[in-house]
Structure formats: structure tokens, C-alpha cells
């Protein structure tokens, strides 16, 4: 779980320009730190990096709303 979180954080900081001290539970989408373009890029990254597949009907924006939620979603599918 920590490994997933760190990897996701690294991607968000390097590729999306988020601050390095962003909290695991900080809201990303609701606080407008990410938008749907970023979410798409993030999904593509996660699917490639962890060889997982997101079911279109199974995903809501809430799943991507914080680093910890994304990590949980990845862990479930890994």
C-alpha cells in the first residue's frame, strides 16, 4: 500500500506539478488539483505501470480523489 502511494505521489508531483508535501488524504479532484485530463493520464499510467485494468462501469471520480483512495483502488486490482 505504501509502495503504491509513493509511486502515485511521485507521478503526481513529477507529471502533474503537484506540491511534494501533498497529503495522502488530500482531496485532488474536489480541490481542483486535478481535472479529467489528468485523471485520464493517471489511469493510463496506473494501468501500464501495475498491469491492471479499470472496469469503466466500476469507477467513479471518488476513486481518484486522494492518493490513498487511488492506492486502495490499485491494490484491489493488482
Amino acid at each position: 500500500m505504501t509502495g503504491f502511494s509513493e509511486c502515485i505521489r511521485e507521478y503526481l508531483v513529477d507529471e502533474m506539478g503537484l506540491e511534494t508535501d501533498i497529503g495522502d488524504n488530500e482531496s485532488l479532484f474536489s480541490n481542483k488539483l486535478l481535472d479529467s485530463i489528468d485523471i485520464l493520464k493517471l489511469i493510463i499510467f496506473l494501468e501500464q505501470k501495475f498491469s491492471i485494468k479499470f472496469n469503466p462501469l466500476d469507477i467513479s471520480l471518488d476513486v481518484f480523489d486522494s492518493i490513498s483512495k487511488i492506492a486502495t483502488a490499485v491494490e484491489k486490482r493488482a
Binding site: 479529467s36 489511469i43 471518488d62
Partner: protein, 535 residues
């Protein structure tokens, strides 16, 4: 959401009331009665054969009037050169006659066939607002029942179960009053969907049940939305069936689809039938949204209805009524749709129409639709608060958006969020690009409004705009423009608001005209006139 939120809406509501009080004398009962040129200030008046009694509207806003006369014998009336027989079948009883005055100033002349005693004569100004919106409320018992409902909810609010059953029973009662057969059909369908919902939770992951359930919703929507006339013809007396279908049906179905997907994703805890029914048929949002989610709806039930909530609710209702009755119907409707207004100037001869008229018509049409729709949302939000629920906002100054993507995130927000959750995200994950979902969402929304060519064009227009903005945002991220001087950012800010407004306004060529050739000509001429103006 404490005192700040109350003041935010209370002050505009008070201002709205003041404006109405100031405007009221200008639009009501402002007329002069003359007999052979002399002003008549008291009744009864004896009218000899051949004498002329003239009733003249003083307000230049008098558009539709009702003239009430109490006379002892039939009168002939004359208006704009046409003769009307103004006949009272019973002497000394009130006879009312309604006419539309198409000129800015207008009136009616009465000539007696025989000597007649006119006991009383007066004119009531009736506006478009009263024809559709306010008049309906005044005319029937609906207004009184809504007050009774609020009182009942306040008395029972301490018990969630009792107050929700009060809401459910009142909604079902209202639907039954409109149409018994349809209500039985609708409530049965909602109950079946609820029963299905228990089978599509994530624990069981019954995808086939989900598909079946979603398909039934779409079928239900199509049945009532597009085969409405055929269904109507099945029934001997459709009554007020029209009030529910097709628009109200769309909102039922949208809430049902959302709830089913949330059940499937296991995003909501199990809810009882009472809560589910209360969410789907909540009286305040029943006819036209906003489209809340079931979890948000139940979570935002107020523990107690405070004085602040009552003030907030009433203020929002006043603001909504003011926007609808004064700004939309009293001002913009007349400018746009009255005889000789902008609609007449552009609709009948779109090729010859003045270019500036086209730009003004489409821009004002956007403002009219915004005021009209956001007014309904204000009233629904205010009424919900009075019933003890804080429901989602639906508009956030969309006309000041800096691009069309932001515009759609601020316009009919509850539907935009619904589309984002249930169409945009799944299609984006499936196709791995952000252009296709924009087209799919806009086509769904466009064809949800109407299965016609102009709405298809509307969908393509907005989807292309969204795709272009997406491309530009991806190509030139905000962080790259942070280094630009402030004045450039400010000028660009104002220009981008104007461009977005005009882009959104131009699409109203497709919403205002069912005839596709008129719509396309006006759309093309709108952009042509803007381009020629700039260059």
C-alpha cells in the same frame, strides 16, 4: 453554511421585493376611461345609443388585459378596427373579456346599442407570467397545499421516518391528482427498480441485472419521451398527463440510473424503500431537478429546520420568482418574443435579417434561458430547504465562464456532474481519450432534449468546443502562462469571457428553431457577422 449564506440570499431577496413594489404601479390597473372625450371617474355611467366609452391602457407594458364590465344590456366593443360583441347574458353581473393589445398603447371602445347603464368597468393587466407560472399558482389550490405540506413537514421533522412518509404520500397524492393510471405505473416501476437494486450491489456484481435494469430505464424514457403522442392516444382522457411527461419522466429516469450505478459500484450503503422513494419523488425537485444523488440527498437532511434555514429558503424562492417573473418574463420575454420583437425580426426571413439583430437575439436568448432555468432551480433549492433538505446547487455564474468547459461545469451542474460520473468517465476509461467522451456526452444530452437535426447540430457544436478547449489546455497548460504580464492576463480574461458567451449564445440558433434550415442560416450568419465585425 451559517449566517453568511443567509445574508448572501436575504439581501438580494429584499432588493427583489423592493423592485417589484416599485414596478407594481407601472404594470397594474393603470388605465383611463373616457366618455366622449371626458374622463369618467365614477360609476354608474349611462351610455346612450351611439355614445362612445373608451378604455385606454396607460401603461406601455400592458400587453394582455382582461376588461371587466357590469352592464344592464349588451354592448358592442371595438378594438383596432375589429368589432366584438361584448355581451352580458345576465344583466348586472360581471362580464370579463380578455384581449391582447399588440401595440404598446392600447385600449377598447364600447358603443351601446340601446341605452345602457354601466355599473362598473375596469381593466386588469395580465402578463405572460400570469398566463403560465403565477396564474396557475393563484388559480388552484396548489399554493395552499404546498404551505400545508411545509407545515406538516415542520411538525414531523424530528422523526425521519414520519416526515419522509409525509413527503412520499404528498408526492404520490400530487401525482395521483394529475393522473391515476400513470402514477400507478410509475410507482410500480420505481418499486421494481428498487427490488432490482438489491441484486446489483457490488457484493453480488450482477452485471447482467445492471444492464437489464438500465435498459429498462432507457426504454421507459424513450417510451414516454418519443412515443408520447401514441401513448396519449391510448387513453380516453389524458387529463393533465402532459405535466409529467415527457420532461418530468427524464428526471425520474436520470435519478434511477444514477442510483443503480451507485448500487453497482457499492458507493451507497443500503437504503430503505421509504428513503429511496423520498429521493426519487421529492416534491421540490420532482418536475425539473436539480438532480441530486441519493447519498448526498440523505446525508444533507437537516437535523432541525432553523430560522436561518427558513430565511434562506424563502429568500431563494423570492429570488427565483423575481428572476422568472420580472427579469425573464417581464423584460426579456417581451424584447424577444412579443410581436415585432427580435424573434419576429430574425425568424421569418433569416437570410434578410439584420446581422446585429441575430447577434442580439441569440445573446438575449441565452440570458433568457439562463434566468428562466436558474429561477426554477432557485425555487427548488429554496423549497427543499423549507422541507428540511439542503440540495445541490445547479448554476454558478456560467455566463462569466472563461471557456466552454468551465461554462458546462457551472451550467446545470447537477446534470453535468451526472454526465461526468455516468457517461464521461466510463467512456473515457474505455476509449482512453478525452475527445470521444465529450461527443458522446453532448450527443446524449442533445438527443435527450429532442431527437431532431438542430439538437444534433447543438451537440456537435458544444462537443467540438469542449474538444478544442481540451486540446488547448493540454497543449498550453496553465503553468506555462503563469509568466505572462498581469495586464495581458486581465485582457485575455475579459476576452475569453466574451468569446465563451458568444460561443454558447450561437448554439441557441439550434435550440430556438425546430426548422433546421432556419437554425443553420442563423448560426452561420451569427458567426459571419462577428467575424466581419472584428476584421
Amino acid at each position: 453554511m451559517g449566517d453568511t449564506s443567509v445574508t448572501r440570499y436575504l439581501i438580494p431577496a429584499v432588493l427583489a421585493c423592493l423592485i417589484v413594489i416599485l414596478l407594481y404601479p407601472l404594470v397594474t390597473n393603470n388605465y383611463t376611461i373616457t366618455k366622449n372625450g371626458a374622463v369618467v371617474d365614477k360609476f354608474p355611467v349611462i351610455l346612450k345609443p351611439g355614445e362612445l366609452l373608451s378604455l385606454q391602457a396607460n401603461s406601455q407594458h400592458a400587453v394582455k388585459v382582461i376588461i371587466d364590465v357590469v352592464t344592464s344590456a349588451p354592448l358592442s366593443s371595438r378594438y383596432n378596427g375589429s368589432e366584438y360583441r361584448y355581451q352580458c347574458l345576465q344583466s348586472n353581473t360581471m362580464c370579463s373579456h380578455q384581449l391582447t393589445i399588440t401595440e404598446r398603447l392600447g385600449g377598447m371602445q364600447f358603443i351601446a346599442d340601446n341605452q345602457t347603464i354601466i355599473q362598473k368597468m375596469g381593466m386588469r393587466t395580465v402578463r405572460h407570467i400570469s398566463q403560465g407560472f403565477l396564474n396557475e399558482i393563484n388559480k388552484n389550490w396548489l399554493f395552499l397545499s404546498l404551505i400545508l405540506l411545509v407545515a406538516l413537514v415542520w411538525c414531523t421533522h424530528s422523526s425521519v421516518a414520519v416526515s419522509q412518509w409525509v413527503l412520499n404520500i404528498s408526492s404520490i397524492g400530487f401525482l395521483l391528482w394529475i393522473d391515476v393510471l400513470f402514477t400507478v405505473f410509475l410507482i410500480s416501476y420505481i418499486s421494481i427498480i428498487y427490488a432490482f437494486g438489491n441484486n446489483i450491489t457490488a457484493r453480488k456484481k450482477s452485471l447482467s441485472t445492471l444492464y437489464l435494469s438500465l435498459l429498462s430505464c432507457i426504454f421507459f424514457l424513450f417510451l414516454f419521451k418519443y412515443f408520447y403522442n401514441a401513448i396519449q392516444s391510448l387513453f380516453f382522457d389524458v387529463g393533465s398527463f402532459a405535466l409529467l411527461a415527457p420532461l418530468g419522466i427524464s428526471y425520474f429516469v436520470i435519478r434511477l440510473i444514477d442510483t443503480q450505478l451507485k448500487w453497482y459500484r457499492n458507493e451507497i450503503p443500503s437504503i430503505g424503500y421509504r428513503q429511496f422513494l423520498c429521493f426519487i419523488t421529492f416534491p421540490a425537485t420532482l418536475p425539473a431537478g436539480p438532480i441530486d444523488t441519493v447519498d448526498n440527498f440523505n446525508a444533507n437532511r437537516l437535523n432541525r429546520i432553523s430560522l436561518n434555514d427558513i430565511t434562506h429558503g424563502i429568500s431563494r424562492i423570492i429570488i427565483g420568482v423575481f428572476k422568472k417573473a420580472v427579469l425573464a418574463d417581464f423584460i426579456l420575454f417581451q424584447i424577444l418574443f412579443e410581436p415585432g420583437g427580435y424573434y419576429d425580426r430574425v425568424a421569418f426571413f433569416p437570410i434578410e435579417a439584420d446581422q446585429s439583430d441575430i447577434v442580439i437575439f441569440l445573446s438575449l436568448a441565452l440570458c433568457f434561458v439562463y434566468l428562466d432555468f436558474s429561477a426554477y432551480s432557485d425555487i427548488a433549492i429554496g423549497f427543499s430547504r423549507l422541507l428540511g433538505y439542503r440540495i445541490v446547487e445547479n448554476f454558478n455564474w456560467p455566463l462569466l465562464a472563461r471557456n466552454i468547459r468551465v461554462f458546462w461545469s457551472r451550467w446545470h451542474m447537477s446534470l453535468s456532474n451526472w454526465c461526468m460520473r455516468n457517461i464521461y468517465m466510463p467512456v473515457m476509461i474505455m476509449t482512453k481519450n478525452f475527445y470521444t467522451p465529450a461527443y458522446v456526452v453532448m450527443l446524449v444530452v442533445g438527443l435527450w432534449h429532442s431527437l431532431t437535426l438542430p439538437w444534433l447540430c447543438w451537440a456537435l457544436h458544444h462537443a467540438s468546443g469542449l474538444s478544442l478547449v481540451r486540446y488547448l489546455e493540454d497543449r498550453f497548460p496553465a503553468k506555462k502562462t503563469r509568466t505572462l504580464p498581469n495586464w495581458i492576463k486581465q485582457v485575455w480574461g475579459i476576452a475569453s469571457i466574451a468569446i465563451t458567451f458568444l460561443f454558447a449564445a450561437s448554439a441557441h440558433a439550434f435550440t430556438q428553431f425546430a426548422d433546421s434550415s432556419t437554425a443553420v442560416i442563423l448560426y452561420y450568419r451569427f458567426w459571419f457577422s462577428l467575424i466581419t465585425l472584428i476584421f
